[in-house]
């Protein structure tokens, strides 16, 4: 059997693929963060809680309304996105004129409160959520055993990232968004309702987090802390990719998923650290991030 650095080649290919799958979650979450930061200049620390809410709403839809995974994929982002709209209108919108730090503190606080409410209501140990019947089972790829659901996650996440990128880069709405980022007053002078656009953008960013939460529900424990660990890594991804860069966050998300996956083979103890080491190196050499504009 062929070996690469003492690891059988098939195992290494398998791990590459797994890294890509994890990268899909990083990409989807960092995409939402990048969209929000790009337009609102808000570092959305509530993102992890909103990811968790997506998973919980999927569970609630099933347990309380009998609506399965496919409905959750549609409804959970809408419901959680709507809560995002309310949060933006009631609270975040008051902070745009202040320093970034205030937005960060506010969203961090909101995140802690959401997590606390869910913990009081549902406890800490989590809730079960099944993989939908259509996506049960696994393919034998020869070099590894590939669960159908994980394949679905990668394909779906890639499609979401591509769609978001197309909307922002290739449509008129996207052009307005980009213009408002550059000069909101001027865009408003042309008759575009910028505050409403900002609100909806925040809602869309939050909906992306919730969508990632629904994708995660069948494979991770649905519990109130599920976003906390992930979100720190995702922030590193956004910083490495360049704050506010859509394409940067997607490519970095997938790329770092792979780097992390490889670390899990060669030095598993360091697998959570490696991303921060890369972040430090990138910040030292390219402070604006790999794809950011200084």
């Amino acid at each position: 059997m062929d070996e690469i650095f003492g690891i059988p080649a098939p195992l290494l290919f398998g791990q590459l693929l797994l890294g890509l799958i994890n990268g899909a979650f990083y990409a989807m979450l960092s995409l939402g963060l990048a969209v929000i930061f790009g337009l609102l200049n808000i570092i959305n620390f509530t993102h992890g809680s909103q990811f968790m809410m997506g998973a919980f709403v999927a569970w609630m839809l099933l347990a309380w309304a009998g609506l399965g995974y496919w409905w959750a994929l549609l409804l959970a982002p809408l419901i959680v996105g709507a809560t995002g709209v309310i949060i933006e209108r009631l609270m975040i919108s008051r902070l745009y004129k202040l320093d970034h730090l205030y937005g960060l503190l506010l969203t961090f606080g909101i995140g802690l409160m959401i997590e606390g409410v869910f913990r009081n209501e549902f406890g800490s140990s989590g809730l079960p959520y099944r993989i939908p019947n259509e996506l049960q089972g696994a393919w034998d790829l020869g070099f590894m055993f590939m669960p159908v659901y994980r394949g679905w996650v990668v394909v779906f996440a890639l499609a979401c990232c591509l769609a978001t990128w197309l909307v922002i880069e290739k449509t008129r709405l996207g052009a307005y968004l980009r213009a408002a980022t550059e000069n909101a007053a001027l865009v408003q002078a042309f008759g575009v309702n910028v505050p409403r656009m900002i609100t909806l953008t925040y809602g869309a960013g939050v909906a992306l987090a919730a969508l990632a939460g629904v994708l995660a529900a069948p494979i991770y424990s649905v519990n109130p802390q599920m976003g906390t660990n992930l979100i720190i890594i995702v922030f590193a991804v956004v910083v490495i990719g360049g704050m506010g860069s859509i394409l940067g966050s997607v490519i970095t998300g997938f790329g770092l998923g792979i780097v992390e996956g490889m670390t899990k083979v060669f030095w598993p103890e360091a697998s959570s650290t490696v991303i921060f080491v890369i972040m430090a190196i990138v910040l030292l050499t390219r402070p604006a991030g790999l794809f950011g504009r200084a």
Binding site: L11, L18, S124, P128, P147, M226
Partner: protein
């Protein structure tokens, strides 16, 4: 006047027991439940431990002294836990109970000894509490790493699981559990084919590790971790089809974790606990009494340990006089060790001189969805080990209280 009476009673407690009861009418024993109210162990300890301690206090009733139950959140941080423990002991709390998370428990263990108070641990796993760190002020009631390793690890080796791969949380608890289990595996002639240590608590996805376990071709997947991590490991392992070729050994897992995982994924798992609500008439009666207060759930193992420990302490305090028990934590623990234990959760048992509480330990097999008759009907008993065999032999712990 008060002080005189106390010292008098401390000296002549046994003789003057009826007298002390009459005089100590106004004495209040304070039990502080120091636990995880906001973190990952909340469901297995937390509010449940408070409810069960209160149940012990109200069942005990007023036998010449009042009992008050307090609670606090240590956030799984040793510094926070140590601060609360100092404050509590200084402000008249006599007993600290529960204290999950081994690092916090070891800190409280030191403070109880220093201030000559009582520490009744139920929630922490480390067997060091009755080994190198043992203390005359501490009782370790419910379970420990040695008993888990022997219970689950030993049983799986006996059924032919002689080659293991470990997925281990990379901190003291995970290392201890992996080491203890590996020792049993090797002692029984088995082999450890590999292990992977993942960063705790920053790991969400375990697929990379379960694939490595699969590639090792070991017969058993040993999970030296706890709570959400164990649930995520099992979910990933099933997704990648490991259940077709490997046995799963979840070395620390409880009824709440099974609830989180769902029976479909959890069925067939073997796990070790010293309490299950549906064991016998006494455990069912206890469950009946506390269920309403306990968020309509049956008690988990660690809260049941708080119940048993609190009840036994109160019996000892009544026996020696509440004032004497308050004045000298060491004497109170010595009295607890001298008296046989008996409660609805654990049945009859005793406390060894190193502070280890001995009671039967059960190996459970998780039921399949079709076998389960309702929520929390999750276990069937696969084996019962008497307390003397289930826990680490007295001589092997290295406890300084044990005279050789």
């Amino acid at each position: 006047m008060e002080m005189n009476r106390r010292s008098l009673l401390a000296g002549a407690a046994a003789v003057a027991a009826p007298l002390s009861r009459a005089r100590a009418q106004a004495t209040t024993i304070r039990l502080g439940v120091l636990t995880d109210m906001s973190g990952p162990y909340r469901d297995t300890t937390g509010p449940g431990s408070v409810v069960l301690t209160q149940a012990a206090a109200s069942e005990f009733g007023n036998r010449g002294f009042n009992v008050e139950v307090l609670s606090a959140d240590h956030q799984n941080k040793p510094d926070v836990g140590a601060n609360i423990a100092r404050q509590w002991y200084d402000q008249g709390v006599d007993v600290i109970l529960d204290v999950p998370t081994s690092s916090v428990a070891l800190a409280v263990n030191q403070i109880a000894r220093e201030k000559n108070k009582v520490f009744l641990n139920s929630g922490a796993a480390t067997s060091d509490l009755t080994g190198s760190q043992c203390s005359p002020n501490t009782v370790h009631w419910t379970y420990d790493t040695y008993m888990l390793a022997k219970g689950t690890g030993g049983a799986i080796v006996r059924t032919g699981g002689d080659s293991w791969f470990f997925i281990t949380a990379d901190y003291a608890f995970g290392h201890a559990l992996e080491r203890d289990t590996a020792n049993f595996v090797r002692a029984a002639g088995g082999r450890v084919l590999g292990q992977v240590r993942y960063p705790f608590p920053a790991t969400t996805d375990f697929s990379a590790f379960v694939v490595q376990a699969q590639a090792s071709r070991a017969k058993v997947l040993g999970m030296a971790n706890a709570s959400t991590d164990t649930v995520n490991t099992i979910k990933a392992a099933r997704e990648f089809g490991l259940h077709r070729s490997m046995k799963f050994a979840a070395l620390l897992m409880g009824v709440m974790d099974i609830h989180a995982l769902g029976l479909e994924s959890a069925q067939g798992l073997m796990l070790t606990e010293s309490f299950y609500w549906d064991l016998n008439d006494r455990t069912r009666a206890l469950t009946q009494r506390v269920r309403a207060a306990n968020q309509n759930r049956p008690p988990a193992m660690v809260p049941a340990g708080c119940y048993g420990a609190a009840l036994h302490y109160l019996k000892a305090a009544a026996d020696m006089g509440a004032a004497a028990a308050k004045a000298d934590g060491r004497a109170a623990v010595a009295r607890m060790k001298a008296m046989p234990t008996d409660d609805d959760a654990f049945g009859p048992g005793r406390i060894r001189e190193d502070g280890r509480k001995l009671h039967p330990v059960f190996l459970f097999e998780v039921k399949s969805p079709s076998e389960s008759r309702g929520p929390f009907d999750y276990y069937k008993v696969a084996a019962t080990t008497p307390g003397d065999d289930a826990f680490r032999p007295l001589a092997e712990g290295g406890c300084s209280l044990v005279r050789s």
